[in-house]
């Protein structure tokens, strides 16, 4: 069986998951701070 298509190729899905989650958390906190500080 080819390695491609198996569960363990690891073509960057984990960094995508972490990056996307951190991006959303950052934007959420950024606007929370803007709201609290009043810009």
């Amino acid at each position: 069986m080819s390695k491609q298509g198996s569960d363990h190729v690891g073509t960057g899905t984990w960094p995508l998951f972490i990056g996307w989650t951190l991006f959303m958390v950052t934007l959420l906190i950024f606007y929370m701070v803007i709201g609290i500080l009043g810009e």
């Binding site: 073509t11 803007i34 810009e39």
Partner: protein, 228 residues
């Protein structure tokens, strides 16, 4: 296949939706900016630069009020799909499927396979946490973005009050205003409408080739979400 091509191929669904998100957010920022400055002019207030608008509560509240409702949709859908059923729907478990599957079916603890995630294999509190991690993260983003909507909404509310030479309100008073609940509920209603629609429509309607559809020839009330 090169690493880049493999990455794009294996993550195309996420990547395309991220691209659509970015294009839509930029469009929202531009449209919101022109709309905001038109209102500033109308009220004889100073216009904002685009950069200033991007870091304003006005833009923040518009983004966050939609975010919170999306995550409420996913959180409520994920949680209620544990117990509720829609016979024949792609979005539902089978009628006779237990609400909480056996450890063997979930491949946890002693039933772990060779490639089971470590926290699913560990047992105890780690497996308990990992077993609820999807709902927990959706709830975090719902409550986090709703809180951010409330704070930025409070700022914009008080800006409006100031423009109309009226008294500012406290944060807790803002949470009781019709404005806050209008912003929240107008988004919630559309999310629940969408979930009810996909739950019911997938019983009778088909899209050949889509993972969101039953096979075209599958009987309406059997297959996914049925006893079969």
């Amino acid at each position: 296949m090169s690493k880049t091509r493999a990455f794009v191929r294996e993550n195309s669904m996420t990547l395309v939706f991220i691209a659509l998100f970015v294009v839509s957010l930029v469009g929202e920022a531009l449209a919101g900016y022109f709309d905001f400055n038109a209102q500033q002019t109308e009220h004889h207030q100073a216009a904002y630069t685009f950069g200033r608008y991007l870091v304003s509560s006005q833009f923040g509240v518009d983004v966050m009020e939609n975010w919170q409702s999306e995550f409420l949709q996913f959180a409520s859908f994920i949680a209620l799909a544990i117990w509720l059923r829609q016979r024949g729907s792609t979005e539902s478990k089978a009628m006779n499927e237990p609400s909480i599957p056996s450890d063997a079916k979930d491949k946890i603890g002693g039933h772990a396979g060779p490639h089971t995630p470590p926290w699913a294999r560990a047992g105890g509190w780690r497996t308990a946490v990992y077993s609820n991690s999807l709902l927990a993260v959706m709830l975090f983003f719902w409550l986090g973005s709703w809180a951010t909507q409330s704070v930025t909404g409070w700022r914009t509310y008080n800006d409006d009050q100031q423009t109309h030479k009226e008294a500012s309100v406290s944060y807790s008073s803002y949470l009781g205003t019709p404005g806050f609940w209008n912003r929240s509920l107008q988004n919630w209603q559309s999310e629940f409408l969408a979930v009810a629609s996909i739950s019911l429509f997938t019983v009778y309607l088909r899209q050949r080739g889509s993972s969101q559809s039953k096979p075209v020839g599958e009987p309406h009330l059997s297959g996914t979400g049925s006893d079969d």
